[in-house]
């Protein structure tokens, strides 16, 4: 199945792109994707183990099972003021 990944702010810098498509096995959870991205290396190796994510524009726990066509957004903590 294919899912769409969205990166904001810092995570966009780590990913190098604002969004990308990812082919993954059915039954994958948000946590599975985080693990895959961290293992794949590059900037996303620095992605925290438990980032805040939203699935289809709704904040979701990492245990959320993804479905084909889902949008997984990574929400970076930002402290600037």
């Amino acid at each position: 199945m294919r899912i769409r990944l969205l990166f904001f702010a810092l995570y966009r810098d780590l990913a190098g792109v604002p969004e990308m498509e990812l082919e993954t096995r059915p039954g994958a959870t948000a946590a599975t994707i985080v693990e895959e991205l961290r293992r794949a290396g590059g900037g996303l190796a620095r992605l925290p183990e438990t980032p805040a994510v939203a699935v289809n524009r709704e904040y979701a726990p990492l245990s959320t099972v993804l479905r084909d066509g889902d949008e997984l957004a990574f929400l970076p903590p930002v402290a600037g003021g």
Partner: protein
């Protein structure tokens, strides 16, 4: 035992208009039970389904919060006065748990519908009075309202200016800093003549000039674990414009514990976030970001930069939400997070959910008082290694580093900032070399793992992360320059540019 219970204005509808009710009771719990027996309608405002006092209801006995004593078991003496201070006016019953958004309900105005408006004020607020949603009633609510602005910087500037212009009666400002020339690119509260002045002083003067009908309360210094509850308790709404994670968690936790709405805004480079966290009605900041990122991962505005107009956009959105909360009008951002990307010009909205297992606003909170936020966020200096073989401190002050350099010790001085920062000021004259934090992992071979290494950045956070990285890679004699090049500039070499 006869005690008097003082009923706040919004709850007097439940007590047939009585401002005070006399009851019998030997403890706070007994007195409240007697109150509920006499006025059953007040029950749901004070107690949750489980029969426990709601988190956002504060009860004071003789000026003291009963939570600081024995809660509902706090004993009462004859003639005691018990004051109920709800954080939500008119309470709608169950908080909006998990709902996508909550209808705004006004936060309590301290004096009911608010103080009278003078003729000058009526003239000044004419454009507000013309709005059905504000009107005289709303303008009086604004005048009665007390808003705390934490951080009088990029976000705090537009927030404070618009709240003052709108007639918010009491504006508290928390800041420890002085106005610096680098602030003027975005902190529109200040001008050139303010450089060097304490921010709260300069801001108070500017706001007084903008609207003399507004009272500005200066809170000089940082909000701390010790001071936060006392400061926040004196306000109806808290707007956060700080620039660091420890203070953000501190503000969130204080607001949850006191039941106050927390208007959140955050910015970096070209992007910003806005939401309203209100533990009593919806998710809090910890429901979204359970734990802070490791130090060094997320750059600050000083390190990462920020487009000057961005805090203007995000800060005015925060001011808007604060006004809606006070007026009790419209749909606030409770349960929604807005992400703004200035370059793409895109607003995105995400639904937030209250986390049942949130450590502070969840069903079984584990955080019931304020904690050590610097430690929680990992920004406290590491304790020096006790390994006698290492015999090298984990941290050096600028003076200690200077002494080592003056003695001619061979120190590998590493700057882990970005190249543009190195261009502004560096310790190249002392033999420093630039290895940005992001490149450190791939450039370890350039350093001698047996030799002494001293790492610095702007203020010490990124270099702390670099120190951990180096130690993990087997470097044993690694020290962080405390306070970074900023402290070095202040204490050793004022000729360096400060930024």
């Amino acid at each position: 035992m006869g005690v008097t219970i003082r009923i706040p204005t919004p709850l007097r509808a439940c007590t047939a208009g009585h401002a005070e009710v006399s009851v019998e009771g030997g403890s706070v719990g007994e007195a409240l039970a007697a109150l509920v027996a006499e006025h059953p309608r007040i029950r749901r405002h004070l107690f949750g389904e489980d029969g426990r006092l709601r988190g956002f209801v504060n009860v004071y006995v003789n000026e003291e919060d009963v939570r600081a004593r024995e809660g509902v078991n706090t004993p009462l003496a004859d003639g005691d006065t018990l004051v109920i201070v709800p954080s939500i006016a008119g309470g709608s019953g169950a908080p909006a748990v998990g709902s996508a958004s909550a209808q705004a309900e006004g936060v309590p105005a301290q004096t009911g519908s608010g103080p009278e408006l003078s003729r000058l004020e009526l003239a000044r607020y004419a454009r507000h009075l013309a709005l059905e949603e504000v009107g005289i009633e709303g303008q009086r609510r604004l005048k009665a309202a007390r808003v705390l602005v934490v951080g009088a910087g990029g976000l705090g500037s537009p927030v404070a200016l618009y709240l003052a212009a709108a007639g918010v009666g009491t504006i508290g400002l928390v800041d420890f800093d002085e106005v610096d020339a680098t602030n003027l690119q975005r902190q529109i509260l200040y001008g050139v003549s303010d450089v060097g002045r304490p921010k709260t002083e300069a801001a108070a003067a500017r706001l007084a000039d903008l609207n003399p009908h507004v009272r500005v309360v200066r809170h000089d210094g940082r909000l701390t674990r010790e001071s936060a509850l006392d400061v926040v308790a004196g306000y109806d709404v808290v707007v956060d414009g700080t620039d660091n994670f420890p203070t953000r968690y501190l503000v969130n936790d204080a607001c949850v514990l006191l039941g106050k709405p927390y208007v959140y805004g955050s910015i970096l480079r070209f992007e910003g976030q806005v939401s309203v966290f209100w533990g009593a009605r919806g998710p809090c900041y910890r429901c979204l970001f359970r734990e802070p990122p490791p130090p060094g991962l997320v750059p600050s505005c000083a390190e990462g930069g920020v487009l000057g107009v961005l805090p203007g956009i995000i800060g005015t959105l925060q001011a808007l939400e604060a006004l809606k909360l006070i007026l009790g009008r419209g749909e606030t951002l409770v349960g929604r997070l807005v992400l703004f990307d200035a370059l793409a010009f895109q607003f995105r909205e995400l639904k937030l959910r209250k986390a049942a297992d949130c450590p502070i606003c969840g069903e079984n909170p584990t955080i019931t008082e304020l904690i050590d936020y610097d430690f929680f966020c990992g920004v406290v200096p590491e304790t020096p290694s006790s390994d006698p073989d290492a015999a090298f401190p984990a941290e050096l002050t600028p003076a200690e580093l200077k002494a080592r350099l003056d003695r001619g010790e061979r120190v590998q001085l590493v700057d882990v900032r970005e190249p543009f920062e190195w261009e502004i000021a560096s310790l190249a004259a002392y033999g420093a070399r630039l290895i940005p934090l992001g490149e450190l992992g791939g450039r370890l071979a350039e350093l001698d793992p047996e030799g002494d290494v001293v790492v610095y950045c702007l203020s010490g956070a990124r270099s702390a992360a670099a120190c951990r990285r180096l130690r993990a890679a087997g470097f044993r004699r690694v020290a962080n320059l405390a306070g970074g090049i900023r402290a070095w500039t202040d204490q050793i070499d004022p000729s360096l540019a400060r930024y």
